[in-house]
């Protein structure tokens, strides 16, 4: 099977005045359709930089990036925009929602740029679907400043899913979230992955990485570990565990 992502000796150097920052060094990585990858590593190890490359937002300084067999560096900015729109759903580290714009409108955003355009009805159905999927139906008409961090995170996820991407890239989708919401989101990701969506996500937390199928660890811009997950966690089971623990805690107090 052809890999959906094929990085060959990718380097990304930020040139900032006097010193060059080597954020990603000689990274080679292949991800096949249906995989569910967690990228871990210390802060500043180059995780976001690599994710931005995978999301066709950033271009590597050197090396080859094949997305679905296509050399991304050969594409025009317009074609890359089209790929971001059609193939990739991206959840940013800092949500990146439009301020003063309702959750619904934020979620509709990618559909505005869909080519060919989606019918009004199709758009409404899709928004409804992802709202339900992320449990935001009640919050659809709230603007980000009226939403909790977790809810904003879920709006960002809903927006990433609305174009039905083949590849979901999420940069710390569970950062700043409590255990319960984190499990909910990982449950949603596991469901999506079961339906065939390829997922790559960044996380700092080992137990979150356990929900994935494959764990990659980065340090100083290099991949230092890449192995399949044993004893994978399942959201449904973990949620039950959490509830019984809470019940026990409630009883004890």
């Amino acid at each position: 099977m052809r890999p959906i992502i094929d990085l060959q000796s990718i380097n990304r150097v930020y040139r900032t005045g006097a010193v060059d920052i080597h954020a990603v060094r000689d990274v080679s990585l292949t991800i096949h359709p249906g995989e569910f990858v967690a990228v871990m590593g210390a802060s500043g190890s180059g995780k976001s930089t690599m994710m931005n490359t995978l999301g066709c937002l950033d271009q590597p300084t050197s090396g080859l990036f094949l997305l679905d067999g296509i050399d991304v560096s050969k594409l025009s900015p317009e074609q890359r925009a089209e790929i971001r729109n059609q193939k990739i759903g991206f959840v940013f580290q800092g949500f990146n929602l439009l301020a003063r714009t309702t959750a619904r409108e934020n979620i509709e955003l990618p559909m505005l740029y869909a080519h060919p355009p989606l019918s009004r009805r199709e758009q409404e159905e899709r928004v409804q679907h992802v709202l339900e999927l992320t449990g935001l139906t009640q919050r659809a008409d709230h603007v980000p400043s009226q939403l909790s961090g977790g809810q904003q995170q879920r709006v960002a996820i809903a927006r990433a899913l609305v174009m039905k991407p083949a590849l979901l890239l999420a940069d710390e989708p569970t950062g700043n979230l409590d255990t319960r919401t984190s499990i909910e989101i990982m449950g949603a990701f596991q469901d999506l992955n079961e339906k065939g969506i390829t997922i790559a996500m960044v996380t700092h937390e080992l137990d979150i990485a356990q929900y994935c199928k494959r764990n990659i660890i980065m340090r100083d811009g290099r991949i230092i570990s890449d192995r399949p997950v044993e004893n994978r966690s399942w959201a449904a089971t973990e949620m039950k565990k959490l509830e019984s623990e809470q019940l026990a805690a409630d009883l004890a107090s």
Binding site: L57, D58, N85, N96, L109
Partner: protein, 405 residues
Amino acid sequence: MRFFAILRIALNALRRNKMRTVLTMLGIIIGVSAVIAMVSIGTGARAQLEAQIESMGQNIVSVFPNFRRGGVSSGASGGEGFTVGDCDAIASEVPGVVAISPEVRAGGQAIYGNKNWSASVYGVNSDYLQIKSWNVVSGSNFSEQEVRTAAKVVLLGKTVVTELFDGNDPVGEIIRIRNVPFVVMGTLEPKGASLMGSDQDDAIIMPYTSAMKRLAGNRAAIRSMIIQSESPAVMSLVEQEVTTLLRQRHKIQDGADDDFMVRTQDQINEFATGTSKTMTALLGAVAGVSLVVGGIGIMNIMLVSVTERTREIGIRMAVGAKARDVLVQFLTEAVVLSLLGGGLGIALGMGTSAIIASQMNWPTLTPGNAIAGAFAFSAAIGIFFGFYPARKAAQLDPIEALRYE
């Protein structure tokens, strides 16, 4: 991207900063309203002017004494005006003359019953009304016979009828001017104000012979002459011929100044429309400058807006907006801004011109093509001045735009 989606985004963005939007539009509003008011007033004034020029009659050549001429008058008629002989000579000797009438001016109180009114009295011949294309509304014009006999008959302008007869039909009544009784033979249709602003209807018209004999004691001279020429083409020829003839008749030496002036209708028109053209050009320049200033205001605010919304642009690009989409979005915003300003400007301009017109007693006309032009021009300003900021937005790099604080 769909047109309505783009429009909605633009309107939302503008609504978010209402105050700023209004202030930005102000330049365009002022510019467009100035243009519209100017055009409306100008068109109204020109319509008025055309009516006034029309009221002078057609293909008219006027002959006046030259008051500016210095030195001693040469001969009996020099500087004083003209003689009946001058008049007859022009009529018979100058080709292209259809009709000519002398004009004798006399003043005096006109009295009817217990009312009196001081009107201008014009002594003319029986062709005068035809030359001026002035119609008799009731009664009839006096005849050549009545001119020859210096009959005591008058025609009254609308204003005189109103003042002396309260608007009732005065035909057959007798009025007194300097104690001489005159029979009212007819009344004239209203003509309105002249080019110089005087009321042309405040006139009593009588045979010039009557004006000379009955009112001025035989000494009144012919102050001016009005000539109707065959066609617009021969007017300047008539002017030349009349000049030659009068110089001869007035025995003016070669090199000496004329003691009279000949003006064709064209020259008068040119003078009148010339001033209004200068005004239009001047106001147009002012309006143009304020439109450009308004456009620069839009550009300035759009640049601020692009900087402020760098992150938004980054987000849009990250989810698939192409450079073109961003360009169109900001361009639409600029055009909506300028069109809205243009629309308000048109309304304001029409309102202003209506007020000015009612104050000045002018008709105003806002021509449809001025409105269309103002809209088109506003849109053009939006596109022109919105393009640079929009292109700046479109050229942003998505990842850098997202990192922008």
